[in-house]
Assembly symmetry: C2
DNA sequence: CTGGATATATGTCTAATACATATGTCCTAA
DNA sequence: TTAGGACATATGTATTAGACATATATCCAG
């Protein structure tokens, strides 16, 4: 809905949620994100930017893996700080859901 | 959470929801929005901008009321097109809620 | 040797919101 | 009488998430 429009902020919490399950690289995350969050289209470029942004803030750490065949992968791992950030995101998401519910009820109810 | 950060897009659906209940003016809407949507801080300037934007798109119509004492008020009314837009918003909100639930479950559940 | 899957990255634009401030009416209390 | 607050609308600008586009490189299959 809407061209430059936004939805709920799923990218960072989604990435942290996946990385908490296991360390992996961007391309894998891009493949898994849509399943995690309904029909959410993922923007490849924004995923890599988000990962590096989170690394700058200490939420994840990364290292290159070029031992395997194929292009080198940068493998990301969640940090302790990242786990705390995910907890905060979870709280934010619960709040958002509750407020959406309130609004939906006001629109539909009655 | 977060400086220039955004939340869920509550402004337009919130305004349309209130206006569907009865026609009223911006200042009133600003007073009622926080109750409608939890602790949502409302930005006064953005409310007036949103109202005029919706008027340009035919979702609401307005007229000045300066008969009463006090500053003149621009009273807004929802249009048929506005009601349809609100229906679309309701669907968007339900989708958003469901996807948030999915993500929360993935974070907490397992 | 071409094209597709894998993999990461940068550039630019827009829309939604945050933050700040201006302008004006009218009423009440010091 | 006037200063300040409630009421009411408005504009200006900064931030930022996400949308859209494109570049680059490796490796493999046909």
């Amino acid at each position: 809905m809407r061209r430059g429009g936004r939805g709920v902020r799923f990218l960072e919490p989604g990435l942290l949620a996946l990385l908490r399950e296991r360390p992996t690289h961007g391309y894998e995350l891009i493949a898994e994100l849509p399943t995690l969050v309904g029909t959410e289209r993922v923007d490849v470029g924004n995923v890599y930017r988000a990962l590096r942004g989170m690394e700058e803030r200490g939420l994840v750490s990364s290292e290159w893996l070029d031992d395997l065949p194929g292009p080198a992968k940068r493998t990301y791992e969640i940090t302790a700080e990242g786990r705390r950030a995910l907890e905060r995101w979870a709280q934010w998401l619960r709040d958002a859901r509750d407020r959406i519910d309130q609004l939906i009820e006001r629109i539909e109810g009655r």
